[in-house]
């Protein structure tokens, strides 16, 4: 009886067996890479804003505290985007004719709000609360990066669940004293000592169950 399959099918079957393991594995690796990449997470992407507001200038240059504008960061889940009136506290006096600030002045005089594009966006099924993180010693820069060095604001962290859990599982690696929360330059020299102490002092729990964020 003649052979049903030609000899070349041997090669084909070897490639298939190899492929089943490696090609599919490679494809999964590529997909995994894509969903974690800035392409999917928007990490590092600046968005067009009505006014090219520079945190670098206002925070590093002028030394304005985060809470001057983000007033509710210590009390509410939402840190707060400043109302136009906050901008005009200063810009009624300085740079009153700058073209760049025309939308701000227009907003203030017409009463129509500025419409900003959200930079840090979580899905609707995630509930994040700023105030408790601030209270437990999570610095602004821990999640938002060196915002004082951003001419245009972008999302410094991937904001994936894996990234959240990194800290929720090991808070001692990230927490800082409460008085350093708003300090952009804070660097812990001995985090391995400070961290566990703060976790104890601040009663920081390792909250990793689902309803911590999802409800």
């Amino acid at each position: 009886m003649a052979q049903i399959f030609h000899r070349s099918t041997n090669t084909l079957s070897r490639v298939t067996i190899f492929g089943a393991v490696f090609i599919i594995g490679f494809a999964l690796w590529v997909i995994g890479g894509i969903v974690r990449s800035p392409y999917a997470t928007d990490q590092g992407i600046t968005r067009e804003q009505p006014v090219p507001f520079s945190h670098q200038h206002h925070v590093a240059g002028l030394g304005i505290d985060c809470r001057y504008c983000h007033t509710s960061v210590e009390t509410s889940n939402f840190a707060g985007i400043p109302p136009t009136a906050t901008c005009m506290n200063c810009h009624a006096q300085i740079w009153t004719n700058a073209d760049m600030l025309e939308p701000v002045r227009a907003s203030f005089s017409t009463g129509r709000p500025l419409v900003w594009s959200r930079v840090h966006r979580l899905p609707d099924f995630v509930h994040f609360n700023h105030s408790i993180h601030v209270a437990k010693g999570v610095g602004c820069a821990t999640c938002h990066g060196r915002i004082d060095k951003m001419a245009l604001t972008y999302q410094a962290s991937p904001l994936t669940m894996q990234w959240c859990l990194e800290c929720h599982r090991n808070p001692e690696r990230f927490v800082r004293p409460r008085d350093q929360v708003f300090n952009m330059d804070y660097v812990a020299l001995n985090q391995s000592e400070v961290g566990p102490k703060l976790v104890h002092d601040y009663n920081i729990q390792k909250l990793t169950h689902c309803s911590t964020c999802h409800y």
């Binding site: 203030f108 419409v115 729990q205 169950h209 409800y215």
Partner: protein, 1015 residues
């Protein structure tokens, strides 16, 4: 139930202890059909698959999927943030603010606290400072938030059906105002002092103008009865917390009527039996239609409505000699001189109210358990007489102009008045209402009305306490408040309701009217004082000390000896407002339409309630009824009443008197809206004109608003059975499946409890053996205890949960397929004979089992255990296998078979709770113990470096409950209310022997029957 069945039944309760409790007649007779129906959680599943997918549709869908698959990788569109230009003071973005207000219903206000997120009202809570609420809410209050956003509300002024403007309407008003003698004003019941003052001003300004009042659920009987007793119009306020013995003469005081939330709470304070209790109140309920009050009573006597008067007379003495039972009640009443209450229901004729007050007078209750005050209404009138006069004047041509403020008289006026044709004879007709309804369509002018959450006003509570009604949001749909309407009538000017309400109170020197004094201080100081007072009133939600002062009064005991009431012949028909959509005004509210009626558990329909025997008499046999249960159908009957015939679905209910029938009015509005239409599904073939339910108003006559005798019921032959969506047997705990006869309800008497507190619950020890190691809960240990002893089944908690947790409504078709979404259900159980069983209501939320059977079966770990013992449900992880639902012995999980959440209607978006995810299709959901509230409470506590205090976190159902039957808290805190309840002798867990270790547990029901009355 045939005779043979009865013997069978008696044998059953004789033999089997576990089958002592039953949920429905079908279960009791235990037909084969029932078992088959019961075994399946979703018996209608197969039907849903009937709509076969064609190959072409499949290709179309799949083609779209492939095309869209490419798009999913693209970057998400930018989301916008719109901050304020000038941020209001005290507003913290992301934090809700609560404002005090009051919800008026039929003239009586209940205090509310409205949760507002960034200017959007999202949730109603009760105002703990308001005497009619004490922090509790009923279903109507909870659902009013949906009524506010309802996109079907009228949005424009209309003239002859065409869009017009408010100023044109004011212009058009001027002509009829020139001859006020032929002008009439028709309003609903008004207790608002400002509205009252405006109407008085109007009447003074236009002599000859007449004011009429009408509401289909009016309190004419109560008013006239109290007038008979006290000689003038008065208001009676009851103090159930002081009463040891209560006799309800067809009065559902705990679930309906002014002050019912307060009454329910006061009643419950004397009913909760805890360790060491020495006393408990006793309630006798003499009623026709099963009510919430009847369900919690110790003795319930089902009688036809016309027989109540006989009972009342016997209790008073002088009528027929009392029966043994009546004598025992009388003895009980007399033993509690000055500490009892006899209360008559709104549907009983005035004489019954007068008799009740005479009994109270004899018993010394007036002044102790009953306070008599001036009337709460601005001008109490007999509304039926008022409307009759108006209709006569319209027919005679004396009325040239009629302005109707609120209400829908074309739909709800007594049938014999033929309001519509009289109304059409009026040359100028204007109607102000929330919806463009039947009356609007017959009017020349229609003015959209503001919702109570949109406009300033004031209102009195059941004891006369005044609340300022403050708006939460500017009118969404161009509505005009009644104050503006009256302002336009008086001055033709636009005066804001705020100025009118504030102006009225400023005129009273900042004092409540009872305390008006001539001002002697500086005008500046007075104005300042007013500002302080005004802010205080708005903050508190009540004007302190504005309750009407008690009047010294004594009721006449001189009652006409003979009744002029004809004994009812044939079947006596009782017409009642619907328990969930009231007189029809809430017919467009999906939450209320889909709310199971407290006693029948029917949704989206009204039915004719009859006793099992009456049903048999008209040829509807038990076997047939039981067979219908598999398809959830019932038979249609023709109800002949005073020459008119209605075709209605029949419903057999235990504990109902023979020879009577109850029908709820409010349904069957001919003109319904898009929202309701959307929810109908395809099940209304058998109803005429495609209405939701049956319109009962055509058989509601002026000489018998509550019904009357002489009705005849005949079965409709040759019609297909009518499909009913009844949730009673849905998602029920199936004892058969989990092995054997267990008790879901444990009940006993107070006497037994005092002898041995542990006798109420037969403890069933769980098998503690486990293959997984037990978890130590060191932090919080959230738990709930529910006390069904005081649960009246009022449904307040169910709607509160729906509102708090963004729970979707699904429509009749889907409910019929057992897919209702309410996380909290109230199961109804009976015990005893079907003629007069004891009724038990048992709210069932998620049990939050420590050994949760749902968790190990989830293939994707979408449901998992939290460190505090919550059984978490992660929507974004769920792939919709429904294994968890299948494995839950308590049947508390709900699955989104379709896109039930309305993602499209923009008007409903701001209504949702921003703290809770809106669930999509294919996702399982269930009660979370309001984890968003737990998290918020924990965050606040953590920020202050302390533990959550007991009572700081309250679930939505707990907060709404008028009788405080639901208690939630941290079991690890030994001083918490919940931890104490867990140690009660009558405490038990549902299906404890399964060792699921549920966190939600129950107390045994304790009742206090009179030992002298044998059941």
């Amino acid at each position: 139930m045939s005779e043979i069945d009865f013997r069978e039944f008696r044998k059953r309760i004789g033999d089997l202890r576990g089958r002592e409790y039953w949920r429905s007649l079908e279960e009791l007779s235990r037909s084969d059909d029932f078992d088959e129906f019961f075994a399946q959680e979703f018996p209608q599943q197969a039907v849903a698959l009937d709509h076969g997918l064609h190959r072409r549709d499949f290709m179309k869908l799949m083609g779209a999927s492939v095309a869209l698959a490419g798009l999913t990788a693209c970057n998400r569109p930018a989301e916008k943030i719109v901050p304020y230009v000038k941020q209001p003071e005290n507003l913290i973005p992301g934090k809700p603010i609560f404002f005090a207000s009051a919800m008026p219903l039929s003239g009586f206000g209940s205090g509310v606290l409205v949760e507002s997120h960034m200017g959007r009202p999202t949730k109603i809570e009760g105002n703990p400072d308001h005497p009619s609420s004490l922090g509790a809410t009923d279903a109507f209050m909870q659902a009013s938030i949906l009524g506010l956003y309802d996109p079907d509300r009228s949005q424009v002024v209309r003239h002859l059906g065409e869009i017009s403007t408010w100023s044109e309407f004011i212009g058009a008003l001027q002509a009829p105002l020139k001859s006020p003698g032929s002008m009439r004003l028709l309003t609903q019941t008004i207790s608002s002092p400002t509205l009252g003052a405006q109407i008085q001003q109007l009447l003074a300004q236009y002599p000859g103008l007449k004011w009429h009042q009408w509401e289909p659920v009016n309190r004419d009987n109560v008013r006239d009865g109290l007038r008979m007793a006290f000689g003038s119009y008065v208001n009676a306020v009851y103090h159930f917390d002081k009463a040891n013995v209560i006799v309800s003469l067809d009065c559902d005081f705990s679930d309906s009527g002014p002050g019912h939330l307060r009454y329910a709470r006061d009643f419950a304070t004397r009913r909760r039996v805890r360790k060491g209790a020495t006393s408990m109140n006793r309630l006798y309920s003499i009623e026709c239609s099963p009510s919430g009050t009847g369900a919690v009573s110790d003795h319930r006597f089902p009688v036809r409505p016309s027989e109540v008067e006989g009972w009342a007379r016997s209790l008073l003495g002088g009528g027929q000699p009392p029966t043994a039972v009546q004598a025992a009640i009388l003895k009980d009443l007399q033993a509690n001189h000055g500490a009892s209450i006899v209360i008559a229901g709104e549907d009983q004729p005035p004489v019954v109210h007068a008799i009740a007050m005479a009994i109270n007078q004899t018993l010394g209750n007036i002044g102790s358990t009953i306070t008599i005050t001036d009337p709460v209404e601005v001008t109490p009138v007999n509304q039926l007489a008022s409307l009759r006069e108006l209709v006569n004047d319209m027919n005679s041509g004396a009325v040239k102009a009629l302005v109707i403020m609120g209400g829908n008289p074309v739909f709800d006026a007594p049938a014999d008045f033929d309001f519509a044709s009289a109304f059409k004879k009026v040359p100028f007709r204007a109607h102000q209402s929330l919806y463009y309804d039947d009356t609007s369509m017959l009017s020349h002018w229609h003015i959209p009305e503001t919702h109570y959450l949109e406009s300033w006003s004031d209102v009195r509570g059941h004891d006369g306490t005044i609340s300022i009604v403050q708006p939460l949001i500017a009118p969404l749909y161009n509505g005009r408040s009644p104050h503006e309407m009256l302002g336009a009538l008086i001055g033709g000017l636009d005066v804001s309701p705020y100025d009118q309400v504030r102006g009225y109170w400023m005129g009273r020197g900042g004092q409540p009217p009872s305390a008006v004094t001539t001002s002697s201080g500086q005008p500046g100081a007075a104005a300042l004082q007013f500002e302080t007072n005004w802010r205080q009133w708005l903050n508190d939600g009540v004007i302190a000390g504005s309750a009407l002062p008690p009047r010294s009064a004594s009721a006449s005991t001189n009652i006409p000896a003979t009744s002029n009431r004809q004994p009812a012949t044939g079947i006596e028909l009782s017409l009642r407002p619907d328990p969930t959509i009231y007189d029809g005004r809430f017919a467009n509210n999906g939450w209320l339409q889909e709310l199971p009626k407290p006693q029948t558990k029917i949704v989206w329909d009204n039915v004719l309630l009859v006793s099992p025997k009456t049903a048999r008499d008209i040829g509807y046999q038990d076997k047939e009824r039981d067979a219908f249960v598999n398809e959830r159908q019932t038979t249609l009957v023709d109800l002949e009443y005073r020459g008119r015939t209605l075709r209605v679905p029949l419903w057999v209910i235990p504990g109902y008197p023979d020879g009577a029938a109850t029908l709820h009015f409010g349904y069957g509005r001919p003109h319904r809206s898009i929202q309701v239409e959307h929810m109908l599904g395809g099940y209304y073939e058998t109803m005429p004109a495609g209405t939701v339910g049956v319109n009962v108003y055509p058989i509601r006559f002026s000489d018998g608003l509550g019904g009357g005798g002489g009705a005849k019921i005949t079965r409709v032959q040759g019609e297909p059975p009518y499909i009913i969506a009844c949730t009673q047997e849905h998602q029920s705990i199936n004892l058969k499946d989990i092995g054997g006869d267990r008790k879901i309800i444990h009940a006993g008497t107070f006497e037994e409890y005092r002898k041995d507190p542990h006798s109420i619950v037969e403890s069933e020890e769980p098998d503690e053996e486990m293959i997984i190691p037990p978890i130590a809960y060191n932090g919080h240990r959230w738990a709930m205890v529910i006390d069904p002893s005081v649960c009246t089944g009022c449904n307040g908690c169910v709607v509160a949960c729906q509102s708090e947790n963004n729970i979707a409504i699904v429509g009749k078709d889907q409910v019929h397929r057992e897919r209702e979404m309410q996380w909290l259900r109230i199961d109804r159980y009976y015990r005893g004979s079907p003629e007069n069983p004891e009724v038990f209501h048992q709210p069932v939320p998620c049990m939050q089992c420590e050994n949760a059977p749902c968790e190990p079966v989830c293939p994707v770990e979408a449901t998992s255990h939290s460190a505090e013992g919550l059984n978490d449900m992660t929507y974004n992880r769920c792939v919709g296998t429904k294994y968890c639902q299948n494995n839950c012995p308590y049947k508390v999980r709900r699955f989104n078979f379709y896109f039930y959440s309305d993602y499209d209607t923009r008007a409903l978006m701001p209504m949702r709770n921003p703290d809770v995810t809106v669930r999509s299709r294919g996702v399982m959901e269930k009660c979370t113990y309001c984890v968003q509230r737990i998290n918020a409470g924990k965050i606040e506590a953590e920020k202050q470096d302390r533990r959550v205090r007991d009572g700081e976190v309250r679930t939505a159902c707990q907060q709404a409950c008028p009788t405080e039957a639901i208690v939630f808290g941290d079991m690890n805190d030994p001083n918490s209310a919940v931890a104490k309840l867990k140690k009660e002798p009558a405490h038990y867990a549902l299906l404890a022997e399964l060792n699921t270790r549920p966190r939600t547990t129950y107390l045994g029901v304790i009742r206090n029957p009179n030992p002298e009355i044998k059941p």
